[in-house]
Each structure stands twice: as structure tokens, then as C-alpha cells.
Subunit: 252 residues, 2 copies
Amino acid sequence: MPSEVVTAAVLVIGDEILSGRTKDKNIGYIADYLTAIGIDLKEVRVVSDEEPAIVEALNALRARYTYVFTTGGIGPTHDDITADAVAKAFGVGIDFHPEAMALLKARFAGNPDELNEMRRRMARVPLGGSLIKNGVSATPGFRMENVFVMAGVPSIMQAMLEDIAPKLKRGRVVHALTIGARVAEGAIAGALARLQADHPSVAIGSYPFYRPDGFGVQLVVRGTDLELVEGAAAAIEQMLRHAGAEPERLSP
Amino acid sequence: MPSEVVTAAVLVIGDEILSGRTKDKNIGYIADYLTAIGIDLKEVRVVSDEEPAIVEALNALRARYTYVFTTGGIGPTHDDITADAVAKAFGVGIDFHPEAMALLKARFAGNPDELNEMRRRMARVPLGGSLIKNGVSATPGFRMENVFVMAGVPSIMQAMLEDIAPKLKRGRVVHALTIGARVAEGAIAGALARLQADHPSVAIGSYPFYRPDGFGVQLVVRGTDLELVEGAAAAIEQMLRHAGAEPERLSP
């Protein structure tokens, strides 16, 4: 059933993330978004604003996954080099896209002088690319084959994702159930490993937490078959009670 | 001056980040930390809890950068496979580390029965590895050559970073100055590109923002020579005033 598995990678382009100046908010948002529509995010990379780094990462990711989503580097300034890097990665030229230019001209219709050379750069799209629109900004992103090039500003990126989503193949949605308990992860690790072995069609993750009010663990069961997920979750709850801990079903 | 450039990568190991369930807090923290001590974070990857994915990413990164910092997957449960993956990446065996086992035994001295088989797994370290201690948990991370294997829980990861930091080569610290202005990025993009060309020893980044109270841009000048950074920042402020915008020097 190959059509049921749809994979993706995210490529974050930005020195500001690597320097720590900006804390990324896009990875988690895209991860939630893709999971909800049945697309399996398999890898994320963050690279600097350097063309060779972008080209290499993009070519590695686009060959490997169904889709690649990039964020960052599509503005009007000299450090916005994503479009050129994508053209280079695909081995194609780059030129002003008529539709993108029309959007920019409409945006600056009242002040055509403001549509300066640097702003016009934002209408440059690798040859063969199609636009990704958004309701927030006049600057579109673009799609090249299985690569979606989006803005880095979260509100704009999120609007672009809405434009993209209807065009994506969707896989089977992964259901997740989370069970919390006030128990040390290490105390139940053996029983949990046996449960995982007994339920090979689901993935059981164990995430300990340490909070001022005490420690505990959250156990997450994930799988595409809700019945199997429910079955494994019930078995985990039974195991926890057997271990003297009170399981608490948390929202996924 | 090769000793002045110290580079690093972060490898986040965790399905929970890729599914969106957990929002990563370690990348930004490590980025800030490394920047402050003169280490240039060049790349971040997030991969799933699958051995081939971990091995491939680790081998790519450790060959390319001075240091690699991994987070996640070193607990006692079946989904904690980082130590085995690191051993495989280095092509070495893995065994119980006497010092790690001593730490665990001390931790469970009052209840030796609780030091079960799964908890003992946490003392397994690839052959040749040395421990990374932390004041929060009895479970150490470990170092293999230029790779530092740390916990995923932020408080423990941060404590491990304190143990590691004194052992790291440090490069020249990158100074950063940030100038904010209530001006459209596109309006100053041309002048900014010329400024960048005139100040090749610094990197000028432009980060637009859109907030309920209006839009604007933050311009960040980065470089190892503070005098050159200051000079470029002053030139940017002059350029902004010339463009009719009031520059505001923000804390880096």
C-alpha cells in the first residue's frame, strides 16, 4: 500500500535560528499540521543562509521524501537567497514570474515608485515553479515539483500552508493516545518493552517529565489503526495499575 | 587562523518532535549557548527514533563539523536507542561503563531491586566513550570523540552542557548588534545591500516583523571584530535616518 505512506521533510533556512537570535516557531507548527492530515514528517534540517548549504540539503531531502517544505529567505533583502538556491538545486534558470509580478504591482498600485528593484526580486521564481499564495502578504511562495518554498514569518508561513494543503496527497492519519502516570519511567521500562513487542503495529513512546510538583511519565501510543491503538493503550493502563500507578488518559 | 573557527551541529533524536507532540526547546538553547562561547552552529537535524536515520545523520555531521551535540533517546525504555546507534555509527561495540554503573548503583543504593535490567541499560556506553555528568539525574550522557550525547529533557540537557562547556575549544565570539526601525524592509533593501557590500567583514541580516501595532524590521549586524560591527551598525542607523525612519538600538 505505497500510496498510504506520504512522507515529508522541513528545511529551515536561516542564520537567525542557528545564532539563537530567533527561536523557531515553524517546525512545531508544520509538524502538527502534517500529522493531522496524515503526512509523516521524517526529518528536519536547519541550514545557514549560504547557497551551497541550501542546495545540498534540498537535493538530499527532495530525493528522499514525498514533499519538502522550506521556510525563510524569500524576502526582498540581500540575505534572501532561497529562490536562487532552489533554482540551482533543480538546475534551472530563474526569472520574474508574471503572476507574482502582477501581485506585487497590485500591492504597490498606489505607489508604483515603491516597487523598487529589490522588491521586484521577490517575484523571481525558478523556471517551472508555480505560486503559493497567502492572504497576509503580496509576496508569494512557490512550488517546484515536490518542494514548497514558504516564508519564514510564522503568520505568512501558516497562510501559505493553507494554500498548499488541498494540493497534497494525504496518507493514513496516525492516531495518538497519551497516558500519563506518576511513576518512574525506569520502573515500568521492562513491562513497556514487552507491551511494545506484543503490539508491533503501534509505536509506543515514553517521555519522562520532571516538574516542581513531582516526576512521572507520558506514554504515547501511535498507529494508523485506531482499534489497535486503543488496544495497546488499554494494555498500558492495565500494566500501570499492576505497577501500582494510576493511569490518566490525556488528550492526544 | 583555522583554530579561530569552531563549528558545530545539533542532532535532535525524537519521534515526539517530528509528530509535533513535543515542541523542541533544546535547539534555541544550544544555539544561544554556543554563540556566546564562540562556537558557530552551522546545522541542525531532527531525525526519528530509527537507527539507520540516526547513524547516517551522525556520520554526516561528525565528519563535517568540529563538534556534534545530540539530544534525546538515552533513557531506560525500549525507544531509547541513541547509545546503540552511536556505537554503530562509530563502528565500535557497546558495554556497561563502570563509572556509569557506579553512578546508577549509588542512585539506587537504598533500593537495589529497583536497578532493574532496563535501568542498567542506561549505563551502556559505546567503547571508548567518556561520561558527561549532570547534577540533575544519575544518568550520564557520554562523549565519543567530537560527539556529545545528551538527554532530551531540557533541564538535564542544560546541566550536561555545563559539564561539557569547559572542555570545548572556543572560537572568536561573534558580536551582534540589532537595530530596529518602523520601516518596510523592501523600502531599504537596496541601501542595505550596498551597505553589506561596503562592509564585507560583517554579516547583515534583515528580519521583518508584523505585529498588531504595526510592521517594521530588525537589522542584525554580526561579526567577530566589534569595531567593524559597530561601524556597520552606525552606517545602518545613518541610512535609516536618511530613509526617514528612526533607528532604535536594541539589545543584541
